[in-house]
Amino acid sequence: MSDKKWLSIDWALFTGLFTLSVVSMFVLYSAGDQNTGLLTRQSIRMALAFVVMFAIARIKPEQLLRWTPYLYAAGLIMLVIVLGVGVIGKGAQRWIDLGFVRFQPAEMMKLAVPMMVAWVMVKKPLPARLPTVILGFIVVAIPAALVIKQPDLGTAILIAGSGLVVIFLAGMSWQIIGILAGIVAAAAPLGWYMIHDYQRQRILTLFDPWSDPLGAGYHTIQSAIAVGSGGLYGKGWLNGSQSQLDFIPERSTDFIFAVFSEEFGFIGSLLLLLVYLFVVGRSLYIAIEAKDSYTRLLCGSLAVTFAIYVFVNIGMVTGILPIVGVPLPLISYGGTSMVSLMAGFGILMSAYSNRWFMR
């Protein structure tokens, strides 16, 4: 049995993740003005994230199932606390500071929400019927609403997405899906008036960034120029003029793909996307092979969420999606999101070690 092994990991998935980490180092070196301090901090985080992954990979899926409600409840409580602190501090408050470490409860919810929805779904036989589906929606809606209040629309959408994917994978009937789609379409104009001004502006500039090239359109235009001028082969590592000359804002974090794409061109971007596709594909395969419905649903959701991150980030950098604060998974500079992502991959590794036909 796998639990006799010291490391319970899927080497194929590991190779994909490791490749992305290495790419991250190279791009960050270029994006961060050849600052080795930045690189050192990122490698420490990466090492930590890999340790978290290995640790979680040793937890059995049954154990996770048992912990799910508590984890979800703890996450909700922390979101409420953070919101309270934010109200006092009169601004967006997303962090909990434990002195030695700061983290965003919203990041934890990216795992806790799909876990909880999967937990609800497997109480009844699949495909899920209407009452279970409604219960699932409630489980998704509460944390999503709390995160929107922070306000962090981007993360709220991702959290909601990860939960909804579970419901979809649980076999929610196409009728319900059709009805929901209709409601969303009808509610869209209403939503337009509910979102913040800056959010509305971001969506508007998406359609015509040149209407305000120095203001709202600046990010979109400059990053499109960076990507476009990279051409087929790119300008070469450390030679992206857009990136190196400070045209691209937040080029170590959310806009790091612009740097990558300018310096490595279409060929480089294609290869990077293939690595991402491989990671997603492998994750879906692990999900299908998993030994019970809970694990399957959870793993499937993690794979899809990861893919959504990649799509939203690159979509935003290439100007087909509005600008939301979503980092490029495993490549952008930043700590919390990487740890929660790698924790998710730890669950996948565990699922693989305890799969259906495991001997």
Partner: protein, 620 residues
């Protein structure tokens, strides 16, 4: 839950698998969308974005600050900025570099050297950096290029401020010069402080006070037209000009000191004893710092570097010379401190031996001085008296007490590369040479020969310390910093290095002996004292360059010029109220009294009386 239902594992698996396939297809579609978008941006629209990127309509341009000026203590400029036209190229915007250089070469003279420097800089910098192709264009060249400028994309004609040193060779070692930032400089500096700057201080004050003089870079966000030329400024963070620096140097006094040295290789340092302000810091021969600003050609540079006269060497700061007899007044202070009576006489037969029939240490006066007390030994510079004194004090006592005057340690002047020279001790010789100390070495150290070495700066500082009654002030060149925007001046306050309480009677005694060097019938520098309206406390020195064998006599006319003795002279004046302390070294100048003494006199005459030397032309 009441309504318990049986789970159909295979059905659940089937549901999940079919939904996974839907998801999988969706993933591929999304990936297709991204790839299509990337293909559109990077392949189909490549030309458009490439153009946009090269001529990005909005760019951030660093605005270089104006470098601070350097003045002497009276406000005479020693380093200033003058406008000059330069041709600058952004390689990234040039399609055919060779062709471009050819065509520019037909309008503007481009020397082999310009091209070599340019190609080297192109390699060193990023493709989108601005690189200087030619500097100091004449008005005609600038006009000719301006008319044809539309033909040259990526080439700019700029009016820049260029560093200029109006005093040329004078004080070049002190002021130093700026030069192009080299690849070695790049490893040391914080690049963010130098965005858009091409120069930095390389030597002297320009280098030592680089951080003060440089100022802070500003940034303009500018909009450019399709040819990459500025249309308007959108926002701007102004640069902060560097601070102006006032030096303690008096440029007239400096000129007089340099002219006094004439064709001799040597150095003159003049210090204000009560503050440590350096009034003159001359080192000859010198060089023209203006040649270094835009990069000196390697032939010219090797000529300077390999010259036997070492014009690039700052002798005042780094030259290590045997102090010779100029060490005697300090030895005298040591003797008095050790309790030697001023009446004690030593007989000088023309030589000194440690034991009967042993090695004969010669006095410069071969016939001998006869019976000498300390006063006469200083005035007439009797070697035998000081051989004996040194032998009684011992080298370690000499090392410790001479250190109180600054011998053997760096003064800490605000110039880099200072030499500590050498004040030997037993411990030093064991460590450095792994040899025991021999008594004979103490004997010759007593007259400033042997291992003892001092820089002209150290000698001047020691003399100033003597003049200032033992309080040693840190020699410094910075008088004040001035903010060019507010004209606010920040004075540099004097620093006390050490304060040794010498017996005032002893100080008075040595001072009187030094005055009698210039002001008595037997004084070795009586020619200088003759007719002087102020009293000068001084000591002459003559330092051997080559060893003289036992029983051989040194005959000046018979040794080649570069083997002749160095002439030394230290002095302070007026003796009762010292305003200036001077040290002079004229390499191969022969006798201190006849060669170096008059040089010091010229410096003191100008400083104390405002009298300029007669024969020389008046500098305008």
């Amino acid at each position: 839950m009441a309504d318990f239902e049986i789970k159909d594992v295979f059905r659940e698996t089937r549901v999940f698998t079919s939904r996974s396939i839907v998801i999988g297809i969706l993933m591929l579609v999304l990936m297709g969308i991204l790839l299509t978008r990337l293909f559109y941006l990077q392949v189909i629209e490549y030309d458009r974005y490439s153009t946009l990127s090269k001529k990005n309509r909005i760019s951030v341009v660093p605005r270089s600050p104006v470098r601070g000026l350097i003045f002497d203590r009276n406000g005479v400029p020693l380093a200033k900025n003058i406008p000059s036209y330069t041709l600058e190229v952004v390689p990234d915007q040039v399609s055919d570099m060779d062709n471009l250089l050819d065509e520019i070469g037909q309008l503007v003279k481009l020397s082999e050297y310009d091209l070599k420097l340019f190609r080297r800089d192109v390699k060193r910098h990023a493709r989108f950096d601005t690189i200087i192709l030619r500097s100091q264009l004449t008005d005609q060249e600038a006009a000719r290029f301006a008319v044809n400028r539309y033909r040259f994309e990526g080439v700019e004609l700029r009016a820049r401020l260029e560093r200029n040193y109006p005093m040329n060779e004078s004080a070049a070692h002190v002021v130093g010069y700026v030069g192009r930032i080299s690849s070695r400089d790049l490893e040391k500096i914080d690049k963010s402080l130098y965005r858009g700057l091409n120069f930095l201080g390389k030597t002297g004050i320009e280098s030592y006070y680089e951080d003060v003089l440089r100022g802070e870079i500003g940034f303009d966000q500018i909009e450019t037209n399709a040819h990459g030329r500025e249309v308007r400024t959108i926002s701007s963070t102004p640069s902060v000009p560097g601070k102006n620096i006032y030096l303690t140097i008096d440029s007239q006094l400096q000129l007089i000191a340099e002219q006094a040295l004439g064709d001799y290789r040597g150095a003159i340092v003049a210090i204000k004893p009560d503050t440590g302000e350096i009034l003159a810091f001359a080192s000859t021969p010198s060089f023209d710092p203006n040649a270094f600003v835009y990069g000196i050609s390697s032939a010219d540079y090797s000529a300077l570097r390999d010259s036997l006269d070492t014009p690039l060497l700052n002798r005042a700061l780094r030259g290590r010379y045997a102090p010779g007899s100029t060490i005697k007044p300090f030895m005298g202070m040591l003797g008095l401190k050790a309790g030697i009576s001023t009446d004690k006489k030593t007989f000088c037969p023309g030589y000194y031996t440690l034991n009967k029939g042993g090695h004969r240490f010669r006095c410069w006066k071969h016939s001998g001085h006869g019976a000498m007390d300390l006063h006469d030994a200083v005035v007439q510079s009797c070697d035998v008296y000081f051989y004996d004194l040194a032998h009684h004090l011992g080298i370690d006592e000499m090392h410790d007490s001479l250190s109180l005057f600054g011998f053997g340690s760096k003064t800490g002047i605000d110039l880099s590369g200072e030499s500590a020279a050498l004040m030997p001790s037993r411990q030093w010789k064991r460590g450095a040479r792994d040899l025991p100390w021999y008594p004979g070495e103490t004997v010759i150290a007593g007259i400033g020969q042997g291992f003892v070495l001092a820089t002209p700066l150290q000698l001047a500082s020691a003399t100033a310390t003597l003049a200032n009654k033992g309080q040693r002030m840190k020699p410094h060149l910075l008088l004040a910093e001035e903010d060019p925007l507010t004209a606010e001046k920040k004075l540099n306050s004097p620093v006390v290095l050490s304060s040794e309480e010498w017996n005032s009677d002893d100080l008075e005694f040595v001072k009187q002996a030094m005055v009698d060097v210039t002001d008595s019938a037997r004084g070795t520098a009586r020619r200088i004292g003759a007719g002087s309206p102020y009293k000068i406390a001084a000591k002459t020195g003559t330092a051997q360059v080559i060893g003289i064998k036992q029983n051989e006599r040194y005959i000046e006319s018979e040794v080649s010029i570069r083997h002749r003795d160095h002439a030394l002279f230290i002095a302070y004046a007026p003796a009762e109220n010292p305003q200036i302390a001077v040290a002079v070294i004229a390499e191969n100048g022969g006798h201190g009294g006849s060669t170096a003494g008059p040089m010091a006199k010229k410096v003191m005459d100008y400083y104390l009386l405002g009298k300029k030397p007669e024969k020389k032309k008046k500098p305008s």
